[in-house]
Structures are given as structure tokens and as C-alpha cells.
Symmetry: C2
Subunit: 286 residues, 2 copies
């Protein structure tokens, strides 16, 4: 059996004196897809239905940034610092061209990777995320903050933050929570130090700039697929629309009855849409 989300070993690679943790599985003709995770998330915060689905015709690489979960080093406290770790990691793997998938804070990092190394990335998927200085991206409501900052996040925290307050979405969230714990050797949780560094990075990224809001997005000229749930409590859904409107070549899908974790609520649909986006040829093939 080739390795899958649940069986691929955690591997380590060193660059810039840091030992980065990652997992790699899948194979096929398409470019490797590097996946960047959300606030505090590690290798096991992904969903095997998403990652194994995407790995049907490509290599999928899950990555822990410096100081996050099983990666060593000091956690970066800027989004740009996290992007530099991604670039160092990808270069250490010897990859010259990748597709990139950023979820939530990982989407912030992914945008900066593209800005820093435009030739490294062919296509970009952004889920549950937003632009630098977007709408309502600082000053989280107290309840959301409480759910997001527990020392060991629980199912209840994830159901609140990632799913919609309907029976159908909450039920999908519980099934996701079960899937997410199937793997036996779970990645270690991220430290409170990593959380503090990420809080600082996110606050700076979310601050509305004094001028040229969204101007950087014009420089991200590659094809981008943007996906979100209807009501995202972590990165308000309007930011997905803003990304689509300001990026030169972006398309947008918003799922019904869902929240920040829409891609974990509708994994089969997301895999179908992401695969179509990644695999297609020129625009005519849309």
C-alpha cells in the first residue's frame, strides 16, 4: 500500500539550521501541492478526505512551520517570516515549481510566498482566508477568542470556530473531528509560545494599512482558486470576495450552510473543484 494521509511517516528536513516536520504522500503527473495550515494547526489538523483526495494525481506535502507542533526552531511572529520558512523548506526538498494551498493563516503565508518567489508557484488555492488588511481581521469577538486560545483545543472549540450553527453543519463537524483523530501517531500539539507568535503575526497582517489597501494583490498574477464557507468566524467571508475582486486571475466558490471549515464539511466537493482547478490546461478548458 502506498502511503496515505493516515500512514505516511512524519519526516524531517533541515534548512537554515531548523528541522522542519512534514509528511508527503500521493503521486502523479501534476506538480507537488504544498499545504500550509491554520492558526496553531499541525499535520493532523488536515482532513484525510481532502488530502488523500488531492493526492490522487499529485504528491501532497503537509508542512509544519518553524516552532509549530513537531517542527523545531523558534516560531516566526510575522507572516513574512513564516513565508521565508516555507521557501527554505521547499528549496531544501529540491522543488523548483509547486502548487500551493493555504488554509486560513496558511493562506496569509501562501500569498507572501507567491509575492516573495513568484516563479516558485504555479497555482494557488486559498481557503478560509483573506488579504492583508482585510475586513474585520483584527479584534476578534471575545467568544471566538476564548474558543481559539484554549491550551488543548476541543471538539467543542472546533465545532464553534469551523462549522455553522445548524444541525447539518455541526453533524459534519463531528464526523470531521472523528476523521481527524483516526491516525494513531498524532502530531504533537503546538506550544503556547507558537500561539503567541502567531497571534502577533495575525494582528499585524490584519491591520488596515493607512494607504494602498489591497495593492499587493495585483502582483499575485497566477491563477487562484478561493473557497470559503458561508459565515467564517475566523476570517470573515467577505474577505474571500475581496480577494477574488482584487486578484487579477481568481475564481471564488462559497459553500452553503458552513463556516471557516467549509472544506472539511464538503471534502468531496472541494477535492473535485480543487482538482479541476489544478489539473486543467489553459483558460479555454474552463
Amino acid at each position: 500500500m502506498p502511503p496515505t494521509h493516515n500512514t505516511a511517516p512524519t519526516q524531517y528536513i533541515e534548512a537554515n539550521g531548523i528541522r522542519y516536520a512534514y509528511r508527503r504522500f500521493g503521486a502523479g503527473d501534476q506538480l507537488p501541492l504544498v499545504c500550509l495550515q491554520h492558526f496553531r494547526g499541525g499535520l493532523d489538523n488536515w482532513d484525510r478526505l481532502v488530502t488523500d483526495g488531492l493526492a490522487q494525481n499529485r504528491s501532497v506535502i503537509l508542512f509544519n512551520n518553524a516552532g509549530v507542533a513537531s517542527s523545531e526552531g523558534d516560531p516566526a511572529d510575522t507572516i513574512d517570516g513564516m513565508a521565508r520558512h516555507v521557501i527554505a523548506f521547499v528549496e531544501a526538498l529540491g522543488l523548483e515549481k509547486i502548487d500551493l494551498f493555504g488554509f486560513s493563516m496558511g493562506g496569509f503565508v501562501a500569498q507572501n510566498v507567491v509575492l516573495d518567489r513568484p516563479k516558485l508557484v504555479r497555482r494557488l488555492i486559498l481557503a478560509g482566508t483573506g488579504p492583508e488588511g482585510g475586513e474585520g481581521m483584527v479584534g476578534y469577538p471575545e467568544l471566538a477568542t476564548r474558543h481559539a486560545t484554549q491550551k488543548v483545543p476541543t471538539e467543542e472549540n472546533f465545532l464553534y470556530l469551523f462549522f455553522y450553527p445548524t444541525d447539518s453543519s455541526q453533524a459534519a463537524g463531528r464526523i470531521y473531528w472523528t476523521r481527524r483523530h483516526e491516525r494513531e501517531d498524532q502530531d504533537m500539539p503546538s506550544s503556547m509560545e507558537a500561539m503567541a507568535a502567531q497571534v502577533k503575526a495575525i494582528a499585524a497582517w490584519g491591520a488596515v494599512p493607512a494607504h494602498d489597501r489591497y495593492a499587493k494583490l495585483k502582483k499575485i498574477t497566477l491563477p487562484v482558486l478561493i473557497v470559503n464557507g458561508k459565515t467564517d468566524l475566523m476570517v470573515p467571508t467577505v474577505n474571500s470576495f475581496i480577494l477574488q475582486q482584487h486578484l487579477p486571475d481568481a475564481e471564488l466558490i462559497i459553500y452553503p450552510d458552513s463556516g471557516h471549515g467549509g472544506i472539511f464539511q464538503f471534502p468531496a466537493r472541494f477535492v473535485r473543484e480543487a482538482t479541476t482547478f489544478l489539473d486543467r490546461g489553459p483558460r479555454e478548458a474552463l
Copy 2:
């Protein structure tokens, strides 16, 4: 050969003393799909790649509202009046349950059909459209108005109003324009009287209400697929996002590099997405 977009005869049916023109083609297990057209548009303003695609597993019904192109009667000068004509027409056909597809002004009418006859419609597709009292839906720019109100709209008018000012979108627009004229017995153009009535209806629909903006959308509880191009000059694209956010069970797709006529720029993709939406079972199958 079974009838297609280009070969289905124009038929007529009488209700309320009005002789409505329509065409019907396709067959299959799914509910009939009734298609409601844009400002001034008649039976030949659809795109065979869209309509024949949708007709692969259902009956597709194209409809001219009263006084529009080959339909007789006085053109309604309210969106609600147009919705009543749709209901009379559907009842005259003996259909008890339909799926409904409204494009642009047809999307306004489709929303009112659902509000008036919630049990008549199972699923709804809204393309290039917006809610009553949406954003920037009155006071069209002078240039757009000039392109939209020519006595006989030209290819140049459609390229400006329906497609995006890039080479790729304009090229897709020219190919659409050729497809749209393939049928030999073209529907007659709509009269200037029909245009005047529709202008009045659209202006009233677009006006921002003094209170309870978007409140009616909560009553449209059926599943809705919303689709638009990136920059819609006729019904600004933000209205598609507003619809998705306020309708209880809606999903949104925004295409890249496109305008009001995004569904005519990416017909194969739209057919795939619309068919998936119309044909799927319960939410779990997403």
C-alpha cells in the same frame, strides 16, 4: 434527431388571454427547467452550449414574457407583473413543480416567482443578478446605458455589456455572438415599448428600500446556485455575494476574467456546475 436549441420550434400557449412564445427541448428524469431572460432578451439571446448542455437530462423551457419578442400582450412594467406571467405560463403548461433559472432581470423575476409560489419551484439558479434594492442597481453609467438601449443591439454592445475588457473575454464574446446567431429562424427583437416597460420595472426593483433591505430573501428557503462573472457592469457582482449571504441555502461561484455574461464565456463549466447542483440529492452528496 430530437429537437435542440437550434431546431426546437417556437411554440405558443395561451393563458390570461395572452399568447406566450416558448421553446422546449431535452428530456430526462429531472424536473423541467424554466429559463427567464435578461433585459430585452428573447429566445435567441440564450446560448445553445448552455441550454443544450442543461437539456441532457431534463426538459429545458425558454420563455418570452408578455410583450417581449415573439410573445403577445402588453409588457409588464413591474418585476412582480413579470412573475405573474411566468406563473400563468407554467400553470398553462400543466407543470406542478419546476426548477427555475433566471439570468439578470430574469433573476429578479425568478426570485418573485419563488416568493409568490414557493411550492412551485424546487431549485433556483440565479446568474448575473441581484436582490431587490441591491448595490448600484439604479443609475447606470451613461456609457452602459447607451450600449444597452440601442434599437438593435449589436455585437459591439454585447461585447461591452456582457464580457470583460481583456482579449480572452472579448474573444469568447465574439464566439458567443456567432453561436447566438446560428439558428436560422431567429426570434424577433423586442420592441422599444417592451424596453420602456422593463426599464421602469428594473428601476423600481433596484431602488434601495427605506427599511428591511434584503428581508424578503430570508423567505426564499430552497437551494439556490448563484453564478456571476468577476465584473458585472449590469448588476454589480457584489450583489451575487449579497444574495449568497442573505439567502438561507445558497452557494456562490464567481468566474475569473469575465463580466455579466460569464455563463456564456464558460458554458461548459457552467453546465457542469449547474447540472451538479440540480441533480444532486441531499446535502450529504455535495
